[in-house]
């Protein structure tokens, strides 16, 4: 299958999420995850999709806990796009995995 575009789209979304990171640690962590996504087999993408969702949700909570609504909105928007993508790409199951 010519499914490498799934790798690319997940990478692009992680890039968008990385641009909302407010600390060097978060940015480095997301860069590392993105790098892993770009080098794994498309067959391994479900695992990385779940990790990406976990990271996105963690960042949303982090900005919310600081009361930083501007950052929260940015992250929540990327998080929603990420969730829609990984569900529609069948990388995670909407019923069981997408709520991680």
């Amino acid at each position: 299958m010519t499914c490498h575009y799934l790798v690319g789209e997940l990478s692009a979304l992680l890039g968008e999420l990385g641009s909302t990171a407010s600390s060097q640690i978060d940015r480095a962590d997301l860069d590392l995850l993105r790098r892993e996504v770009e080098t794994v087999s498309p067959a391994s993408l479900p695992l990385f999709a779940r990790r990406a969702l976990e990271r996105a949700r963690g960042l949303c909570w982090e900005s919310l806990s600081r009361g930083d609504m501007v950052t929260f909105r940015l992250r929540a928007s990327v998080c929603a796009n990420l969730r829609d993508f990984v569900v529609c790409a069948r990388l995670v199951d909407e019923e069981t995995d997408a709520g991680v």
């Binding site: 299958m1 575009y5 087999s41 067959a43």
Partner: protein, 706 residues
């Protein structure tokens, strides 16, 4: 599920279960048949196996050749097939120049920027000719590039992307396009592997309503390539809005230049297309999926162009008067074959869209289709599912009419297929559900749209001149209609097949041909079936259902666990540098997982790290995946190309022979690991029983899939 030997073998063939039942046929509408490029079933006779390889002359004759070929297929150095040997042509000439007498003022591309209030831009064939020539002059005269050099292009979906590709093709420069959404590091890896001296990029682009800063990726890419010993001397930067630099990153003096500042010197310049041998490389397209050296699929000029022109005409049913929209990214093989080279070879008018499908709302694609009169639409199941999820009724609001629709990239479920057919296609369009791969150049499985009925969930039979078969692990054919899955294999070469992995010919043979090769000395193509790495099953009518990638799977108590997933989970532990998952015979669960891990410099093996690895696997995959043992070893047995030899490790874990280790780059490590693991297993009372013949075969075969 019983842990019999038979069931194990069956799982290793079938890897992924079919999740939907066989569907009935859906027939193409008469209106489509009446206008189709192919409506005479005689074509199947023209492409039957007895007429191979000469049947592909029909595709090659769609092109304009500087010199006709002497040999259609040269098999003297298998599996490095050479098509149309002796022939000469230029891909850019075939896609641009030759259309000028008749289609000078016809739109080649209609480019739609993502901001909806921005103007749509039409690039006619005449304008394409002018702009391609000017860029070719820049590449040759300003950058000093020549035939055979490589150029990496990291750009978004803007007209300057195909213009740059065609300028390369005009000069016989091999382009390597990297998907614009990829990181700078991924681009840098590809610059390094291809040995590109020039990187062509863009400052910014729109995505999902934001203007994204793209230029910093170029800086990172050049750095990454330099660390690998390859110096990109020049970075040419297109500006999304000419004259206005919108990146936050400064240009690097002596290295970076704006294309719109360089181009005026070459205004109106005409560069003669270089007449290339048919087998000269046209481009590299990298696939992901490896932490070792990336795989650059090298595609040829004559064979590739003939194949994509032929499949565009017959399967996409493109006529010069159509408005065709392939909603993919040119950074992937679909974009190369079915946005750039195939449609342009047929003088098509193509829509190009810059942004995401759902911006600013999921009605956007259908507004574009209505406004531009699109009548052929082509996209991936993920996009279709997304558009259905976010706007299930949107297509009904717009007055467009598709005659033909394509799906590409993944299997499409019947219910999604039906929405595509009924709602997007309004029940009027024929659908071709295509199966192929980056390595293949063009479609391999599809129905012929006017002649063969559609079947939701099935891609159809092999396309013209392609003779697929499902084989089991032992190389035996899985009969059509048996309901059993196996490996999708193509018995014959075809003109669109990639020529090699750039700079890694041994890896090319190992991955795609070694598995089913009958005789390494044979020069008969029949002995060199192509292993696709996709699993599939074939119905009695010859239609294929593609199931997914055939990766190594470990069956633990009926749960099929992908080795790559297990290894990826282990790699989330900070200290782990490399990981390999192998099966070990387990009396209770049939098979259990053992993980081998090597650590990053500065870390020492400890029980704590072993526990962290087990915990990471349990957390990310599930309790069933918890490894029976984690072995922290000083290094992994690897081939010279860096591939971990799981077969060797599986042998050690099961107290069987590790097999041939002469091809390893570090054979000495096998003995070290063997002693470490055996001693520990003896001490723990975990010595496995003697394996049956079938179990031995299974362990020996483990890790054959790359």
């Amino acid at each position: 599920m019983g842990m019999t030997t038979e069931s194990e073998i069956e799982v290793s063939e079938a890897q992924i279960a079919a999740h939907w039942r066989e569907e009935g046929y859906v027939y193409p509408p008469p209106k489509f048949i009446g206008q189709a490029n192919v409506s005479d079933p005689d074509i199947f006779d023209r492409f039957r196996e007895e007429r191979f390889p000469e049947c592909f002359k029909e595709y090659a004759d769609l092109l304009t050749w500087d010199k006709y070929w002497e040999t259609t297929l040269d098999t003297s150095n298998p599996p490095f097939w050479r098509w149309f040997v002796g022939g000469r042509l230029n891909a850019c000439f075939n896609c641009v120049d030759r259309h000028l007498p008749r289609y000078r003022n016809k739109a080649a591309f209609i480019w739609v920027p993502e901001p909806e209030n921005a103007d749509t831009h039409v690039v006619t064939y005449q304008e394409l000719y002018r702009r391609v020539n000017e860029v070719a002059a820049v590449l040759r005269e300003h950058c000093g590039l020549k035939t055979g050099d490589r150029v990496t292009i990291h750009m978004p979906m803007v007209p300057e992307l195909p213009i740059t590709m065609l300028a390369c093709a005009r000069l016989g420069i091999i382009h390597s396009v990297v998907f614009g959404g990829f990181s700078g590091a991924a681009c840098g890896d590809r610059i390094a592997d291809s040995g590109s001296r020039v990187l062509i990029t863009m400052d910014v682009y729109y995505r999902n309503g934001e203007l994204l800063d793209h230029k910093p990726k170029a800086d990172e890419a050049v750095e990454v390539a330099a660390r690998a010993g390859v110096h990109a001397e020049r970075v040419l930067v297109w500006r999304r809005h000419p004259g206005r630099y919108e990146s936050a990153t400064p240009m690097v003096a002596g290295r970076d230049e704006f294309m719109d500042e360089v181009l005026p010197t070459y205004r109106g310049r005409v560069v003669d297309p270089v007449s290339m041998p048919a087998e000269a490389p046209l481009f590299l397209m990298y696939t992901s999926g490896t932490t070792a050296r990336p795989k650059g699929c090298q595609h040829s000029t004559g064979g590739y162009l003939a194949y994509v022109a032929g499949t565009s005409k017959y399967y996409q049913d493109i006529h010069p008067e159509d408005t065709y929209w392939c909603f993919a990214d040119i950074g992937w093989i679909t974009g190369h074959s079915y946005i750039v080279y195939g449609p342009l070879a047929l003088a098509a008018t193509s829509v190009m869209y810059e942004g995401v499908p759902t911006y600013p709302d999921p009605g956007r694609p259908w507004r574009i289709a209505e406004r531009l009169g699109v009548n052929i639409f082509h996209t991936a199941p993920t996009t279709i599912r997304m558009l259905r999820k976010l706007g299930p009724d949107e297509p009904k609001k717009y007055n467009y009419h598709f005659k033909h629709m394509t799906t590409v990239g993944e299997p499409i479920e019947p219910d999604v297929w039906r929405w595509y057919h009924q709602v997007v296609g309004k029940g009027e369009a024929v659908i071709v559900d295509t199966w192929w791969q980056t390595e293949n150049g063009g479609f391999l499985g599809s129905t012929m749209p006017a002649l063969q009925p559609m079947k939701p969930g099935s891609c159809g039979p092999g396309v013209l001149g392609i003779y697929p078969v499902i084989l089991d692990e032992q190389g035996q054919q899985v009969p059509p209609g048996s309901g059993r899955a196996g490996n999708m294999v193509i018995r014959n070469p075809w003109p669109g097949i990639f020529q090699t992995i750039w700079g890694q010919p041994e890896r090319f043979v190992d991955i795609y041909y070694r598995k089913y090769n009958r005789d390494p000395n044979s020069k008969d193509w029949h002995d060199w079936p192509y292993f696709s790495g996709d699993g599939a099953l074939q119905a009695a009518d010859g239609y294929f259902r593609i199931l997914g990638r055939v990766d190594d799977v470990i069956n633990v108590a009926g749960h099929r666990l992908g080795t790559k997933e297990l290894e990826s989970a282990a790699l989330t532990v900070e200290e782990v540098a490399e990981a390999a998952a192998v099966p070990v015979i387990d009396e209770l669960r049939g098979r259990a997982v053992e993980i081998y891990a090597s650590l990053k410099p500065g870390f020492e093996a400890s029980k704590e790290i072993e526990d962290k690895i087990s915990a990471a696997i349990e957390r990310l995959i599930g309790r069933v995946a918890r490894p029976k043992s984690v072995w922290i070893v000083p290094d992994m047995p690897k081939t010279r190309s860096g591939k971990i030899m799981r077969r060797v490790i599986a042998g050690i874990s099961n107290f069987t022979s590790p097999g041939d280790i002469t091809t390893l780059a570090n054979p000495e490590i096998v003995d070290v690991i063997n002693r470490q693991v055996r001693a520990a297993k003896v001490q723990r009372g975990q010595v496995p029983r003697e394996l049956s013949e079938a179990e031995l075969e299974e362990i020996k075969a483990f890790g054959k899939v790359d």
